[in-house]
Symmetry: C2
Subunit: 191 residues, 2 copies
Amino acid sequence: MSDEAPRRPRRLRVDAAENRARLLSAAKDEFSERGANSSLNMVAKRAGVGPGTLYRHFPSLHTLLVAVVSNDVDILCRRGRELLDSENPDTALRRWLRAFATHAATMHGLLAVQMASEFALGGTLAGQHQAIIETGDALLDRAKRTGTTPQHIDIRDILRTANALAWASQQAPDDSDLLDRLLEISFPEPR
Amino acid sequence: MSDEAPRRPRRLRVDAAENRARLLSAAKDEFSERGANSSLNMVAKRAGVGPGTLYRHFPSLHTLLVAVVSNDVDILCRRGRELLDSENPDTALRRWLRAFATHAATMHGLLAVQMASEFALGGTLAGQHQAIIETGDALLDRAKRTGTTPQHIDIRDILRTANALAWASQQAPDDSDLLDRLLEISFPEPR
């Protein structure tokens, strides 16, 4: 750092972090909406940056996909930990399952991108999968102990359910609040 | 008919009806378990009849598929009408949704047979679809009026949910009671 402009490098780092976050969010939208038809140029355009900035952050489609998945799982698991502190354990579990279903819908879109690009995301997804199961299990455990959620329910089965609802909602892509309605049937908010 | 054996034709008709029912049940099992790999010879073998008997009842794969679908939908709708007379309207709806999910799983298997055989079952399925929606709607309506099922729930959305759970259960074909567990999460039996 120079004596003259101590704030400039910091400003640059902040810009870079903002661009990276914007690119990840734009990539997530592009991949989940357009699946196998996604384009990297569209990702840059959605993020409001030039293609050069995109390639500086993510030199290949693979690095971008891995970053999108990791970022989405990080956000999902952070949300789960926050919900562990919320008041009603049953509601906390349901809210998190809704977040998971949205995540699952995004992942179905990413899977289409991955298959079109012919490289395997499997290894990356397996590690993330474990983090999700652990987060969900902590919420489920609390909902069983201090809420009204039945003891026999398994975390893998409720994740399968949320994933199936995400799949169903993608069979009717024009029905934009279908996933919300389906989640409300299987995991109703208390009234 | 001859004067000599008035009971024989009747006995023959009873045998024919029994063979037909056995063939339909065997075909349903074969199609749902083996999908695109189904074989008509295996259907005859499962039913315990010769291939000639199968072809006399169902001269083509198409007539057999249509008969299996129609028969399954008839049974499903009859079960729905019976449940309209049962005591608890919420439980009646849930029980019927479980029957529907099993039906949907069978239909996914049939779809694979249909795609492998390259003819369209679409027209047949559309008519049956309407019968299912009407049956489900009658049960849902009663559960809303005299049970505790929320007013905002739509029959198409709960059928989509049950169908999605059938899809999920077929992603893990070795887990034979997965569909039951998933149905118990989305449509729990009252305890």
